[in-house]
Symmetry: C2
Subunit: 345 residues, 2 copies
């Protein structure tokens, strides 16, 4: 019997539970914890978890795979709470929308004998909370996996298995790539959406504007209805990338503004619209090819095998060896450092 | 038997035809014309029109209500083509996304004995052409009606009837209000959407970005897939309002950029997100009250009556009297002018 533990049973945590349970994996139980016990109760009633753990420490000590699905700024505190209780060889992952800070916290806080692998399922909707959770939330969505440089292949493969089991497309990125990329396709657009809504909402003509606003305005301002905590935490943990992309966005808008301002008989403005239309239609039709995936991808046996191995034993034996090696290495390093230190003193 | 004529049988013209036919109004036929005869044929096969007129002139001379549903910059040419053939007392309307130019052209080109009333159903989708047409396109959407200062009440009421029959919400605005309002909720957002897509598409990392782009990026860039002709014509006929709103949008983005840049312990950024969320959720929940509608609204008997009266007679008798009065007035004015002129010479 292996245990997947989920900390935070809102939209993402709850949906992960539902998707895992829907996969009907024999020998795996899904346990959960939420600091709001009503949320935990609701997730249990909805069938997102087999049981709710009485404490976060207890969930940590029970879990072979622990998924931290809390708001970003809470991830650090959760890591501190679970760190002393994690099993040797356990795998820990998260679902945060930014990865730089989370990876840094994991290196600082989590014990070396557990394997942290960053995760970010690019799914979500404007409604949040456990009542919005659904098993199909991740279907065909990208699931970014951010291994540490020393992550055990079996743990990485297990994460690929997790992504596939819930119907998502695993994508490997490092933390810097992830935070730069998501700034452009997600975080800057979030601010653009909030800016559009706030601007129009602040107009004196708002009652008139609201009454003639069509689907375009609704779609483009959708992200303004997202969770404020999430938006805030994203901005605080990915500030430089976001500011960089906002600046580039303003340059691009200014370019179009000039085309509009100066459009006469010339075709520049029309060409800009044609090019955008062709390129977007092509994007909606099929995704562009990425560079060939790294070697890690080719090692993945099948999704279920890798995931089951990760959560339900097997991996533990292999990991125990990795961990022993690592400890011996660390031990040697420390002795070496101390020797050097003594010589210098 | 009354005839509704539709010039241009693409997404909007075709959907208008389908919606009118679905209403099964006895004694009304829907005729159409498209400069592309294949589009006309397709609209006829799809049941959007009862018949396709052999020429635009013929459609004009047959129609009690003529709806011009072409791209904006073609509206002028269509007006010139139909003007000599329109029936006395006919009502002419359009569906263009900007109203200032169209109203000016109507005053310049159309004969005084027809009644032009501007129209703009705020509906649409990213797919265009007759194959995208659907009867439900206008359901619960605003339909802006822009009367001339001298529009006959019966003609205005008929337009309200048209809007209601196809399931839309009639909204009265003047041309300046319309163009300023739509610049903020539709035209500037269109450019923001194109800018976002073009910027991200132009990134060297595009293959990676496309593969992790989630529903947010798709929703926010949806307008970039719209018809380039439409976007172009909108920009050319509503330039000043659009540039004004782009400038305000850039200011608002810059305000958020500064909040992100400087966010520390303070709550300004978080508050901005909370306020946007509350206000947008409230907007999605219910539309704000507008000022009480003008007296014109209160004269509307029932939708079908007003529309039937407009298209299928009744109105013609009343209108004939209005027209005679107008002609007599014009005649008196001309005589007066000529007399003054002669005295000065």
């Amino acid at each position: 019997m292996g245990t997947v533990g989920i900390v935070g049973l809102g939209l993402i945590g709850g949906s992960l539970g539902l998707a895992l349970k829907q996969a009907k994996l024999g020998g795996i139980e899904v346990a959960g914890f939420d600091q709001d016990s009503r949320v935990g109760g609701r997730a249990h009633s909805a069938g997102a978890v087999d049981r709710v753990a009485p404490t976060i420490e207890r969930l940590a000590s029970d879990s072979d795979l622990l998924i931290i699905a809390t708001p970003i700024l809470s991830v650090r505190k959760v890591m501190e709470e679970v760190a002393p209780h994690l099993r040797r060889g356990a795998v820990v992952t998260d679902t945060a929308s930014t990865k730089g800070s989370v990876m840094r916290w994991a290196r600082e806080i989590l014990p070396r004998e557990v394997n942290f692998i960053g995760g970010h399922p690019l799914a979500g909707k404007e409604t949040s909370g456990p009542q919005a959770a659904e098993a199909s939330l991740f279907t065909d969505r990208p699931y970014v996996i951010v291994p540490m440089t020393d992550s055990a292949p079996a743990a990485v493969n297990g994460m690929v298995g997790l992504a596939r089991i819930i119907g998502a497309r695993p994508v490997f990125l490092d933390a810097d790539e992830h935070d730069s990329y998501t700034a452009s396709i997600s975080h800057m657009p979030l601010l653009a959406s909030v800016a559009l809504f706030s601007l129009v909402r602040g107009s004196q003509a708002w009652p008139e504007l609201a009454n003639i606003a069509g689907p375009a305005f609704r779609d483009l301002t959708r992200l303004a209805s997202g969770q404020p905590e999430m938006a805030h935490d994203i901005c605080l943990t990915n500030r430089e990338n976001i500011v960089h992309w906002i600046d580039r966005y303003m340059e691009e808008i200014y370019r179009l503004r000039d085309l509009v301002q100066n459009a006469e008989g010339d075709e520049d403005l029309f060409r800009a619209f044609v090019e955008a239309q062709l390129a977007r239609d092509s994007f909606m039709d099929h995704l562009p090819e990425r560079d060939p995936p790294g070697s890690m991808m080719t090692e993945v046996p099948t999704s279920n095998d890798a995931f089951m191995t990760l959560v339900a034993g097997g991996y533990l034996a292999q990991r125990a060896k990795d961990v022993t090696n690592l400890f011996e290495e660390n031990e040697r390093e420390r002795n070496e450092r101390e020797r050097r230190q003594r010589r210098r003193d």
